[in-house]
């Protein structure tokens, strides 16, 4: 980049270690594989496809990347029936109608010219995808396409053009291509399979549950008010909990919530009663809560306090 005007622009990290350091500086404790994927996505200009259970920090990485790279974050939350009108662009119909009425009242307007006039960028409402490809300030943003699995196949098919060419086509205006491609992060909770054609265009990374050391680092970083001994117990407990046969194991988000909850309750150590009382923070299915009987909880707590964090 030889344009001195873009003082906000932060240089892309030069290697994987730089990515790790960058993420770490913004309180995201990544493992090396994730950092490698992020590095490659930035270096190769490919979208990063993150799949994994809920609450393991998929969306967070896009937010952190935006902050760390000094870019805007543009978020497209997917839902069923998401269409071009709400994802890419929409014409401003009321304004167009007024324009037509004015032209007719004025008289003497040629129809072909009118059609040309009312389909200009003046009447275009820009939605997230279009905004990401042609940002108003000219700095390529971070585009987060969140929970892609919630939308349906037609939208996926539309994304193919966007992701492959970094361009969208508006019939009345022609193709609009990004000057500088945005950094694209796509997340999926895997409530259905995303089509191979999408994945093929992306760098794929499965975001798993963190190991004990990394989770401890995350808890220390994100919940500094928790005493060190309590943080260790919390991490050891959730790590053991994930080994049980649960319908939905707690993610990092639940661990952090739980740490906050225990701090709010002024606990400095785990005890079976507290675990039972706050099980709803960790487990979100009644079957799972039921499986964590007082005896099971007592045993887990005893194990945790006897052994500490298992490495």
């Amino acid at each position: 980049m030889n344009e001195p005007a873009k003082s906000l622009h932060i240089a892309l990290p030069s290697d994987v270690d730089a990515v790790l350091a960058l993420l770490d500086a913004h309180d995201y404790v990544a493992d090396r594989r994730l950092a490698t994927s992020v590095f490659l996505a930035l270096r190769m200009g490919r979208p990063l496809f993150l799949e994994g259970e809920a609450g393991v920090g998929k969306t967070e990485i896009a937010k952190v990347l935006a902050t760390a790279l000094g870019k805007h974050l543009i978020r497209l939350q997917c839902y069923e029936g998401l269409d071009i009108a709400s994802a890419v662009y929409e014409w401003n119909y009321p304004r167009q109608m007024i324009e037509i009425r004015l032209a007719e009242a004025g008289g003497g307007v040629e129809r072909g010219q009118l059609a040309h006039d009312i389909f200009t960028t003046k009447f275009l409402l820009r939605r997230p995808l279009l905004e990401a490809l042609s940002p108003h300030d000219g700095v390529a943003p971070v585009l987060l396409i969140d929970e892609l699995d919630r939308t349906d196949e037609p939208f996926e098919a539309y994304l193919l053009e966007v992701l492959a060419e970094y361009q969208v086509t508006i019939p009345e205006l022609g193709p609009i291509k990004a000057q500088t491609p945005p950094v694209v992060v796509i997340t999926s909770n895997r409530t259905r399979e995303i089509h191979d054609a999408i994945k093929r265009r992306c760098l794929y990374h499965w975001v798993g549950y963190p190991d004990a050391l990394r989770e401890l680092a995350i808890v220390r970083r994100k919940c500094p008010r928790a005493p060190e001994s309590l943080a260790r117990e919390i991490v050891a407990f959730t790590q053991r909990l994930r080994a049980l046969d649960l319908f939905k194991a707690p993610g990092i988000a639940e661990t952090l919530d739980w740490a906050e909850a225990l701090v709010a309750l002024d606990r400095v150590a785990l005890d079976p009663q507290t675990v039972a009382d706050t099980a709803g923070v960790l487990l979100k299915y009644q079957d799972d809560v039921g499986a964590l009987t007082p005896e099971a909880a007592a045993k887990l707590v005893a194990d945790v306090q006897a052994e500490g964090i298992r490495l």
């Binding site: 839902y79 069923e80 029936g81 269409d83 009108a85 014409w91 119909y93 167009q96 109608m97 037509i100 007719e104 129809r111 009118l114 059609a115 009312i118 699995d149 349906d152 196949e153 037609p154 909770n189 895997r190 409530t191 259905r192 399979e193 046969d245 319908f247 079957d287």
Partner: protein
């Protein structure tokens, strides 16, 4: 044979340049017929094109000869293996024909040899090379999707009601052809996506505005749109334990047909463990697809752990497959090696995770069927429909049953086991 290829003399008169080639034209015509019997859509025009192509490339080089025929006669990738095998058999090694006879023998004399993947030569090709002894008019040659047109009345009538388990190899082969044409219509559900419609409920502003500009006068006709409707995803869980094996093997043909008929169909097999075979079934050619399934599944005709397998499904697959209002077909006789242990809870979870749970049970054909076994008793309260699946007629009925709206009848059938029909 209802769709005979062109006669060789017709060909000669149509294409004078073929005349001096002697037996080559006859051989090509024969070869095209073989391919046609093997299921490739090659009509008389292709025969002429093939001869023209051979005329163009010459007969000096075998590779060119093969490539020329392939270029003209194959138009889909999945037909290529059939072409390759047929080419090898037909043009290279006449002795293989003897092996073909051997490959056909168990088909004619026994009931055990109907699996296509057991011999090196695909059964489909073997049948195409050596026409069966049956009169040709009994074999379905029609392209219509309608079952009724495929058979003479009496043959159809018998096959419709005959249990899969008591069929001979020839009957099974005939039924497999019919199964491959069966479709499973599911009621369409409204989605949140819109489509233009003349009698829609919402104004399509974009279309209206474009119309207003092109048209004359101040009045702009409103354009409308409505919700698009779409079939829900279908998830099939099929039991392949020993007691179900024969049905399962027949139903795989059916499942192959519906998997390739449309999108959003997922098929999983279970016995002692759960296997997702959706990708294997995706191959257009049923022989190749079923060979892949057989290779992928390790627990054919073993025991059944219904509860364990459903638990595994609920744990590992349900969130991935059951979104967006999926309909689940559970094909099982309900005879559980674990005597229904933990089954009720897993069935309840499965039932609550899907839009509709249909249980297809071949045992239901017996008049005096009673829900004695513990597995069946555990499963019954949690299904929306309980239907037989032992012959063609029951599969046709299934299509009709699925078109009816789902009735959630949780707990309604816990008593009175004799009123299940």
């Amino acid at each position: 044979m209802t769709r005979a290829g062109p006669d060789i003399s017709q060909l000669r008169s149509a294409s004078p340049l073929l005349a001096p080639k002697g037996r080559l034209a006859e051989n090509v015509v024969h070869f095209v017929r073989v391919l046609r019997h093997a299921g490739l859509p090659v009509g008389p025009a292709r025969t002429l094109a093939a001869l023209e192509a051979l005329d163009a490339v010459g007969l000096d080089n075998r590779t060119d000869f093969r490539a020329a025929l392939a270029a003209v006669l194959v138009s889909r990738h999945e037909h290529l293996p059939i072409f390759e095998q047929a080419f090898d058999l037909f043009w290279r090694n006449p002795r293989l024909l003897e092996k073909l006879v051997a490959a056909l023998l168990p088909k004619v004399h026994g009931r055990g040899g109907e699996r296509a993947d057991e011999s090196a030569i695909p059964a489909r090709l073997a049948e195409a090379m050596l026409p069966p002894a049956l009169p040709r008019d009994r074999l379905p040659e029609t392209d219509r999707v309608d079952l009724d047109a495929a058979f003479t009345f009496s043959a159809r009538e018998v096959l419709q009601h005959k249990d899969f388990e008591s069929m001979t190899a020839a009957e099974l082969a005939a039924v497999r052809v019919m199964l491959a044409r069966l479709r499973l219509p599911l009621p369409q559900l409204p989605t949140r996506r819109m489509t233009p419609a003349t009698r829609g409920h919402r104004v399509d502003l974009r279309a209206t505005l474009r119309g207003a500009i092109g048209g004359a006068g101040a009045l702009a006709p409103l354009r409308w749109r409505q919700r698009r409707r779409r079939s829900p995803p279908l998830v099939v869980l099929c039991d392949i334990s020993g007691s179900m094996e024969r049905y399962a093997r027949m139903l795989l043909h059916f499942l192959h047909a519906i998997t390739n008929d449309r999108d959003r169909v997922h098929v999983l097999l279970f016995g002692t463990q759960l296997t997702n075979i959706t990708r294997h079934l995706r191959h257009r050619d049923v022989d190749v697809a079923l060979a892949r399934v057989t290779a992928a599944v390790s627990d054919w005709s073993g025991g059944t752990r219904i509860g364990g397998c459903l638990g595994e499904f609920n744990h590992a697959w349900s969130r991935r497959l059951l979104g967006q209002n999926a309909v689940v077909l559970l094909i099982s006789d309900g005879l559980d090696a674990d005597a229904g242990q933990g089954l009720a809870a897993q069935m309840e979870r499965l039932h609550k995770s899907c839009r509709r749970l249909v249980w297809l049970n071949p045992l239901l054909r017996y008049e005096g069927f009673e829900a004695r076994p513990a597995g069946i008793r555990a499963m019954l309260p949690h299904v929306d429909d309980f239907l037989p699946v032992h012959n063609l007629e029951s599969l046709t009925d299934l299509a009709a049953a699925l078109e009816r709206p789902a009735r959630r009848m949780r707990g309604a059938r816990e008593h009175g086991s004799s009123t299940w029909r």
